[in-house]
């Protein structure tokens, strides 16, 4: 992202007792997760009414009219009908809303829609080529790395980002590294071992846990 970011967390932290609107342009305190906003690069004052924001979503340019307080997740789900990312905790604790913003995994519930102006946003819907599943998505199905499927969109985006970050060295990935990459993605059905197995298979790495092995031990 090229424009200065204003995250939801940073916005709330910066707001203090001042109105949220005021903090959109004049944060009271520094935000460690975002570059400092100076007069020169300050964004235009927006809100409180809906204002348009343009960004690239799964390869296509989209424009959406939303209030400054609307999160990226709400804009995706309510205004753009992109419902792969899920709202589960609404405070950055579970990762079910994970999307890629300029290639980095981010919690869409912790960003404002206006934060991604001009940025490249990829959701689970954009991981494959049209109807064609990506190798990772296909591996998730083969390894049963999903049960109810509600964490799956976020799991996939986190894992896709991991594989892209590792690039040609992905074959050296370990199960522990995959676990680290999905540490922010909660699953209630218990799919973690199968997620690890799926990622390691796509990475071309050696399976490292009993569950990751495809061989089913079966007695009786």
């Amino acid at each position: 992202m090229t424009s200065p970011t204003l995250t939801r967390r940073g916005l709330l932290r910066g707001a203090g007792t001042a109105s949220v609107l005021a903090s959109c342009t004049k944060p009271n305190g520094p935000d460690s997760s975002a570059p400092a906003i100076t007069d020169a690069n300050a964004p235009a004052e927006i809100g409180p009414d809906a204002t348009s924001v343009e960004f690239t979503l799964n390869g296509k340019t989209v424009t959406v009219q939303v209030e400054p307080r609307v999160t990226l997740l709400e804009a995706l789900r309510l205004d753009l009908d992109v419902t792969g990312p899920k709202l589960v905790c609404d405070r950055g604790a579970c990762g079910a809303c994970t999307v890629l913003v300029d290639g980095r995994p981010r919690n869409a519930c912790m960003m404002l829609a206006h934060d991604v102006a001009g940025a490249n946003v990829t959701t689970v819907e954009g991981l494959g080529e049209g109807e064609q599943l990506s190798a990772l998505q296909a591996a998730f199905v083969r390894h049963d790395a999903l049960q109810c499927g509600f964490c799956t969109s976020g799991m996939l985006t986190s894992c896709a980002s991991l594989l892209r970050r590792r690039g040609s060295s992905a074959s050296a990935l370990t199960g522990a590294e995959v676990n680290d990459a999905i540490a922010g993605n909660l699953c209630r059905c218990g799919t973690y071992p199968n997620v690890v197995a799926a990622v390691l298979e796509v990475a071309g790495a050696k399976a490292s846990t009993p569950n990751a092995a495809a061989s089913a031990t079966k007695a009786g």
């Binding site: 309510l78 992109v82 899920k86 604790a93 680290d180 071992p193 846990t209 007695a219």
Partner: protein, 777 residues
């Protein structure tokens, strides 16, 4: 009933029995049947929709003109409504309807109870409008702590008659509460022999108190419903539910419309774990709220709980505080067990402690299990994956280990000696070898003796459940002239992949590829089915699928008989669904083309369970499902930090229907159990009566780095119970995990931690490194 000889049993313990098969049902798949598709690790048929974000959950439903609802909830744990009015809420920006849900004079019983609701064009506008609703409360005395509530001087939570809420998630046939005193209401006892007398005569007695916490279901998709009125007396509802028909029935009852006029859709469901039955959640009238707002606004209304609401008013697993007395005679034989438990399901009932104490170690001659519900000013509990069982297992299994140490006995040998279930005994024995039990026990003993900083320990515990599969399912199979095969049933997929297993069963019977079968589920119009509770879905639905497909096949054989010119009995069904007879072959497609009408339509139902080999469940005519789990933990005795290194889960799976999805369910049971053992706890503030951690950052559920390596052994057990031999595995697989972990902690430390969750602080307190106290229990 036709009597047939079938082969039942498990591993090398197979035997032939005579079984009475209900009329019209095929000979059940038994140990002699070698199946081609059923049992194989077939990836789920709707997986591509879930990994591409195209699966639409209730959470994702968007209808033209749809409004979003928000609910105002009582901030106080007990209060009387002095004034209530909608104020400016009805006219707030974007608001199309507003209703009150309480009246002046009402006594509100917990923080989170329904007060009022609005529907607006966007969720944030609905939330904004709640601030305009005017309510004046008179704060009343309350109690949220289980033991404090049990005291005769505690404020009475209920003033009138308490109606017990039962759902399909409850263990079928489990006893309900009865009359009581103050906030305490006793459940019927389970008793055999005279434990008081036997304990007096016992040579060794162990006595201690074991506590478990309140756990919330925390399904990732919160409770939610979308209601649309299609006519004055006609409703379509999309609901995040484990029981489509329970939603239909409740909406019909609430709004006084015929059940035939209520259509319920649950194409995908983001988890349930026992809390999602009916149109409403246990502590909030979601169905009424969405339906009434929709009726008033003249537009569809969507109501999704937020995470806070999900924790406080949609159900939970009650806690348990169990006083256990366990006695043995001089020869080391267990002679008596007495468990007395207090637990709270908040304002509701159902704080039982399962069957482990009474029904697993059946060679203990004298047993008494007493359990009571204690009312508190908190959201109602409800069934959660094996209601009562993990609590009960934790207490009795750890008590057995503590007594074993006093007697210098091996806890595994003690279990095998007192368990009569042949499958579980086999699992204990096989598991000990596979897990390396004896060597691991020696290692932990040596480390304890040396007083090392890092310790490991191992434990083992048992699982008991019943084959609660039942009739009430009708499956329709439609084979088209074009050779298409559709299998329809109104069951919902909670995440186990029931649709995939249905396709496998149809593929098996008709000898067609799995991907040639179209399974349609998740809609009430697809025909009667069961709720996904009690581990009943697979064992209720798959027999009906098989029976329907067998009927359809019989009709196809009749068509083939005419075409081939041989009697139906002489037509052979080939391995690719072709018909052979009279030296001729008809491919499946050619045969379908010749059918007399447009399609062959057959329905199949599921009869009563007719077999329970090798052992019944608590005297009921159904198979007792056995399982054992071994766990190994590693503990840093300086910091108290604990890690579960590995779990071996051996479970009776009936006939495994799909090795891939069955294994996933067992993984899930172990992971949920690990989370319960180490991390999860609903914390209520005793002074303010509110939940302090109603989120997912302070209410901890296990993440990828918190879980053990899991070794799953699926034991095929042929019980001759129904036409496919399926049973359920969802609940049995989570029962023994926390108990096995607690026993492993005891083995590692040499001192027990008798309270869940087993946190570093409790470990350090048990070691005497830091003082005990300060916690509510």
């Amino acid at each position: 009933m036709p009597r047939k000889t079938i082969t039942v049993g498990f591993a090398d313990q197979l035997t032939e029995i005579e079984a009475d098969i209900p009329a019209g049902e095929p000979r059940p798949w038994d140990a002699d049947n070698r199946l081609v598709v059923v049992g194989k690790p077939v990836p789920r048929i709707d997986g591509h929709l879930k990994v591409s974000g195209r699966a639409k959950y209730t959470h994702d439903i968007a209808l033209p003109g749809m409004l979003h609802a928000a609910v105002l909830r009582c901030p106080l744990p007990c209060a009387r409504i002095k004034k209530i009015g909608l104020g400016g809420a009805a006219k707030a920006p974007g608001v199309k309807a507003a209703i009150t849900l309480a009246e002046v004079g009402d006594r509100i019983l917990f923080a989170g109870q329904d007060i009022a609701a609005v529907a607006a064009e966007r969720p944030e506008l609905a939330r904004d409008a709640l601030a305009s609703i005017e309510v004046e409360y008179e704060a009343l005395p309350f109690v949220v702590d289980t033991r404090m509530a049990a005291s005769p001087s505690a404020p009475a939570v209920h003033q009138g008659v308490v109606r017990e809420r039962k759902t399909e998630g409850d263990e079928p046939g489990a006893a309900g509460a009865q009359g009581g005193e103050g906030n305490v209401r006793k459940m019927p006892d389970s008793r055999r022999g005279d434990p008081a007398k036997a304990l007096k005569k016992a040579a060794v007695v162990h006595e201690a108190t074991y506590s478990t916490q309140v756990q919330t279901h925390s399904a990732l998709e919160t409770h939610g419903i979308v209601v649309r009125w299609d006519a004055k007396d006609k409703i379509t509802a999309w609901c995040s539910t484990q029981g489509i028909f329970s939603v239909r029935d409740e909406l019909a009852e609430i709004f006084g419309v015929p059940t035939a006029n209520v259509r319920v859709i649950t194409e995908f469901l983001g988890g349930g774990f026992g809390a999602k039955f009916g149109a409403s959640a246990p502590g909030t009238r979601l169905g009424f709220i969405a339906g009434e707002l929709s009726r008033k606004a003249g537009a569809p209304v969507k109501l999704m709980c937020d995470r806070h609401e999900e924790h406080v008013c949609t159900g939970n697993r009650p806690d348990a505080h169990q006083d256990v007395k366990l006695g043995a005679d001089a020869s080391g034989r267990l002679v008596a067990l007495h468990v007395r438990s207090l637990g709270t399901a908040g304002i509701g009932t159902g704080a039982g402690i399962g069957r482990n104490a009474f029904s697993v170690y059946t060679k203990i001659p004298h047993v008494l299990v007493e359990a009571s519900d204690v009312y508190t000013n908190a959201g109602p509990g409800t069934a959660m994956r094996a209601p009562g069982h993990p609590q009960g297992a934790f207490a009795v299994e750890l008590a057995i280990d503590e007594l074993a140490r006093k007697m210098k006995a091996d806890p595994l040998a003690l279990r095998i000696r007192h368990d009569e279930h042949p499958v579980r005994k086999w699992q204990f024995e096989q598991g000990a070898t596979r897990f390396g039990w004896a060597e691991a026990r020696k290692r932990s003993e040596a480390a304890r003796a040396r007083g090392t900083r890092m310790r490991t320990g191992v434990g083992v515990a048992a699982s008991i459940w019943g084959d609660f599969g039942r009739p009430g399912v009708t499956v329709t199979v439609t084979i088209g002239r074009d050779g298409s095969i559709k299998v329809d049933n109104g069951v919902q997929d909670i995440g186990t992949g029931i649709g995939t297993v249905m396709a496998q069963v149809a593929a098996e019977v008709l000898s067609r590829p799995t991907d040639a079968i179209t399974v349609r589920i998740g809609r009430s119009e697809f025909g009667p089915s069961v709720g996904s509770g009690g581990s009943t879905t697979t064992s209720s639905v798959t027999p009906a699928v098989r029976n329907a497909c067998e009927q359809a096949k019989t009709q196809l054989l009749a068509v083939a008989s005419d075409l081939l010119g041989v009697p139906p009995a002489d037509v052979v069904w080939g391995p690719e669904g072709q018909a052979l007879g009279g030296g001729k072959v008809l491919t499946f497609e050619a045969l379908c083309k010749k059918m007399p009408g447009e399609a062959i339509v057959a329905t199949g139902t599921r009869g009563k369970t007719y077999g329970a080999h090798p052992m019944e469940f608590s005297g009921q005519p159904m198979q007792q499902i056995a399982g054992v789990q071994f766990a190994e933990v590693e503990i840093d005795t300086w910091t108290g930090v604990i890690r579960v290194k590995r779990v071996l889960a051996m479970h009776d799976c009936g006939r495994v229907m799909n090795a891939l999805t069955c294994r996933s369910q067992i993984n899930g049971g172990v992971i949920l159990g690990t989370s319960y053992a180490l991390l999860e706890e609903r914390v209520l503030d005793r002074d303010f009566g509110r939940m302090l951690n109603p989120n997912l950052e302070h209410y901890k559920i296990a993440g990828a780095r918190d879980i053990p390596e899991i070794d799953v052994v699926m034991t095929d057990v042929f019980a001759g119970n129904n036409s496919t031999g399926a049973i359920g595995i969802g609940e049995p697989s989570t029962i023994p995990t926390a108990a096995a972990i607690a026993c492993a902690v005891y083995d590692a430390l040499g001192v027990p931690v008798r309270s869940l969750p087993i946190t570093p602080a409790k470990i350090l307190a048990a070691l005497g490194v830091i003082p005990t106290g300060g916690t509510p229990t």
